[in-house]
């Protein structure tokens, strides 16, 4: 052990800054969780603030807005995962059929670029594009349709969130799936060709089945993140008009904890979310190991 450490110490030293920062910013603040069980008073601090047991949890669970935000979070997240996977896989398959390498790279870059634009900027662009007098509605009106309130109609808003997120991020998934496709053994395609398979049948019977493990892995790993429905996206696009369908746990906590200064109640909501997220991450890692033979530890 010591001998091995003597050999490996430079690598451990390189890890050290990351470990220290993680400890400071991710582990030390865990202490603050006790606020969830207190009537927190900054002046009295963590030690002196009076304990209230589960009162903060009782309060949030008796609040319809909180329960609604849990539903919205799951709804938006799950559809994002499903549609993002479908879009990424489909686009990767289509890109794979392009023979001209330069064209392939251009398309790949175009769909990948939005991934690097922050939601603050993207939201500004979308608010203009999707406004009643914006470009999309101008197109709809030109085709004889009625303007659609993409951002302020509560039935449409969650789908605006889902679709714009899929549009923004599917380029990343495409790169991953395309990389997997290129690593498929060419002999499988040669065998399929000998058996008389055309391009479509090669895709259906060779490419897609060979992608199953990575698809399962990506989906399962996403499940662990299902309670993060995209704070920065929703926060920059939502309004009180769409709270019933667009308010997610993170935006609810932000308004409660930071804007209204109710730290204890905000922490209780945050703790609830962390417990559920932890369970989901554990579950997803187990499933990833079980079905895709993927192990983190």
């Amino acid at each position: 052990m010591i001998k091995r450490l003597r050999y490996e110490w430079p690598y451990h030293a390189l890890l050290l800054p990351g470990v220290i920062l993680t400890f400071i910013f991710s582990y030390l603040p865990i202490y603050g969780i006790i606020m969830a069980f207190q009537d927190y008073n900054p002046g009295l601090g963590f030690i002196g603030s009076p304990w209230v047991g589960l009162d903060n949890f009782k309060l949030i669970f008796s609040t319809p807005q909180f329960l609604r935000s849990i539903y919205n979070t799951f709804y938006i997240s799950l559809f994002k995962i499903v549609l993002q996977t479908l879009a990424s896989v489909s686009f990767a398959l289509m890109l794979n059929e392009i023979r001209l390498t330069s064209a392939k790279r251009i398309y790949q870059t175009i769909v990948y670029i939005p991934n690097f634009i922050s939601w603050v900027i993207m939201a500004g662009i979308l608010l203009n594009l999707l406004a009643t007098d914006g470009m999309i509605n101008a197109l709809i009106k030109a085709m004889g349709g009625r303007p659609i309130q993409f951002i302020s109609n509560r039935s449409i808003f969650p789908w605006t969130i889902i679709i714009t997120d899929v549009w923004k991020t599917f380029g990343f998934g495409t790169v991953v799936y395309l990389a997997s496709i290129t690593s498929i053994d060419p002999e499988l395609y040669e065998a399929a060709v000998i058996d008389g398979a055309g391009r479509w049948k090669q895709t259906r019977y060779v490419t897609i089945p060979m992608l199953y493990p990575i698809i399962i892995l990506m989906v399962v790993l996403s499940l662990g993140n299902v309670l993060n429905a995209g704070f920065d996206q929703v926060f920059n696009l939502y309004s009180p008009a769409v709270f019933p369908t667009g308010d997610i746990i993170d935006t609810f906590v932000y308004r409660l904890g930071l804007q209204n200064g109710k730290y204890a109640i905000g922490t209780a909501v945050g703790l609830f979310k962390s417990v559920i997220s932890c369970t989901l991450i554990s579950l997803s890692l187990y499933i990833a190991y079980r079905f895709a033979n993927y192990r983190v530890f």
Partner: protein, 551 residues
């Protein structure tokens, strides 16, 4: 080679520490308790004392080259004239995270000597026994001028008095003259329309439609927190709070039975909703208002997409210069009008509890009398009619919004703007400037003149607030002089029980927006109100009645 590298690294380390030690070395005042100098508050400390503070500084606060929060005309005057050195432990530039940063500071237990708190923080600090009892210092070391503010407003200091002892001094406010809101209208468009009379809601609607017909866009600029739309409540005989301000989300009135209720529970609120829904349907309110934040609302005004806006008396600073610049016309700015009413009767100005913050001193402060001196000095410079400043001093204290640079020791005369307005307007009308006896008056006069004579957009805010018959304060003064006012029945901060509720404002905003946008009929408001009561409104109403019912 290794030795050389080691030496270089060591030198770098020493060099990097030097500015830090230099920063510490800059502190010259003592933290030891010093005897309070005999005489009035103007008598300086023979030994310089150090006072620590924290501050939220507005984004528009500008210092001269080489100056900073810790070294500017105010800090130099405190040091030279009072023997007090003020050190800032931190400054929240932009003043957007002040409360959060202060809560973190409080949580560390290392409080600065003097700082401003909101009423929730005040309550928590008193409970934690971290604040100094200021009663004796208030009575013995504070200027008579500031103590006389109690005569103008005897009730506000009671909100920071606990068991008969003063634990906080209100920062006060510029006077109730700054509270009534106005309907701001594009001057050039209004004149092009023939300057029609604006007495009734119908007059307003007709003018809005005329603007839409001539200039496109929509009529009335509002944003999605409904802060601006709720300002129109007095048009319909309802008085509403500010949904965007967590400390003043509701306006409280007594109903016929004497019970205090939120303005949103007033029966006439449905009339307001009916009109708002109609305005939305007719395009007077933008179909996209639900997506508008304050910046987008302002942007639309600046770009000529709307020509009307309910707003505070400071609208001229907020929209004025950008509008003039973007439209390229000296006549393209917005002027204030009293709100019209349904039958053309006189509208009432809404007066809420105006004090937001309290100046407190930490129990650990070793020289609390120095804080009283700082407050007295700041007030003396800005509001005392006997103060005589040189041109250089005046500019040093007030240019670049530096009248707000004192931060935690900035206290405001609650009659300031009322007196200021009368003198500024008189000077502008007559050219007689000898009665402009405070720095504030000189500043507003100077800014107004710079707009009137040179069309300097930077002076537009002062001009629209105080500079002509028909300005915002002119409208407010008319309401005050004739007692056309609706005062809140709760003269104080929200009770502690409000902390036990969860985002009641969300229930209200969502319901109101759905009604305005036609998703729900006006009758749906009964359900919204019932939900509001069920989700915390009842707790708040009961707490308000328990605390202020006998006020």
């Amino acid at each position: 080679m290794k030795k050389l590298l080691r030496t270089l690294l060591a030198m770098l380390l020493v060099l990097s520490i030097m500015p830090l030690t230099a920063a510490f070395a800059q502190t010259i005042g003592t933290r030891e308790a010093q005897p309070i100098p005999e005489g009035d508050w103007k008598t300086p400390y023979p030994t310089v004392v150090n006072i620590t503070t924290v501050k939220g500084a507005g984004a528009d606060l500008v210092f001269e080259d080489g100056d900073s929060h810790t070294n500017n005309p105010w800090t130099r005057a405190w040091l030279d004239q009072l023997g007090i050195e003020v050190t800032h432990e931190w400054v929240d530039d932009g003043n957007t995270q002040y409360d959060t940063k202060l809560n973190m500071t409080i949580a560390t237990g290392n409080l600065p000597d003097v700082f401003k708190v909101n009423y929730v923080q005040f309550r928590q600090l008193v409970q934690a026994d971290l604040l100094l009892d200021l009663t004796d210092y208030y009575n013995e070391n504070l200027s008579q001028r500031i103590r006389d503010y109690e005569k103008t407003d005897p009730d506000t200091i009671k909100q920071s008095t606990v068991n008969g002892r003063i634990y906080g001094i209100p920062e006060y406010y510029y006077g109730i003259i700054d509270q009534p809101k106005d309907l701001w209208i594009r001057k050039d468009w209004y004149e092009d329309a023939g300057s029609p009379e604006l007495k009734t809601i119908e007059d307003f609607e007709n003018l809005a439609k005329l603007f839409m017909e001539k200039y496109g866009g929509y009529g009335l600029a509002i944003e999605n927190k409904l802060e601006n739309l709720f300002m129109t409540g007095p048009m319909f005989g309802v008085y509403l709070g500010n949904p965007a301000n967590a400390n003043a989300q509701y306006f409280w009135y007594k109903d016929d039975t004497g019970r205090i209720k939120a303005g949103i529970a007033h029966p006439e609120f449905k009339k307001a909703l009916t009109y708002w829904a109609k305005w939305y349907e007719e395009g007077i309110i933008s179909p996209d208002f639900a997506n508008f934040d304050v910046n987008k609302m302002t942007q639309d005004l600046v770009n000529g997409k709307a020509g009307m806006q309910p707003h505070y008396q400071w609208q001229g600073w907020h929209v004025g210069p950008n509008l003039v610049g973007a439209q390229g016309s000296d006549n393209a700015y917005m002027i204030p009008f009293p709100f019209p009413t349904e039958d053309g009767s006189q509208v009432l100005g809404q007066i809420g509890f105006p004090n937001n913050r309290v100046i407190v001193v930490a129990k650990t402060c070793t020289n609390p009398a120095a804080v009283m001196k700082l407050l007295s000095f700041t007030d003396h410079i800005m509001f005392d009619p006997t103060t005589k400043l040189t041109e250089e001093e005046f500019k040093g204290y007030t240019d670049g919004q530096r009248e707000h640079a004192p931060g935690s020791v900035e206290i405001i005369d609650p009659m300031a703007d009322m007196i200021q307005f009368e003198h500024v307007l008189h000077a502008l009308k007559t050219g007689e400037t000898q009665d402009l006896f405070t720095a504030g008056m000189q500043k507003k006069y100077g800014d107004s003149i710079s707009w009137i004579q040179d069309k300097n957009p930077g002076g537009l805010g002062a001009y629209l607030q105080q500079g002509f018959d028909g300005c915002a304060y002119y409208n407010s003064k008319f309401l005050i002089d004739n007692d056309f006012l609706k005062r809140t029945d709760v003269w104080g901060p929200p009770p502690e029980e409000f902390d036990k509720t969860v985002n009641t404002i969300d229930v209200l905003l969502n319901g109101v927006m759905e009604i305005i946008m036609g998703v729900q009929p006006v009758e749906y408001y009964d359900t919204v109100l019932a939900n509001w009561y069920a989700q915390g409104g009842q707790i708040m109403e009961d707490a308000i009645n328990a605390q202020y019912g006998g006020q």
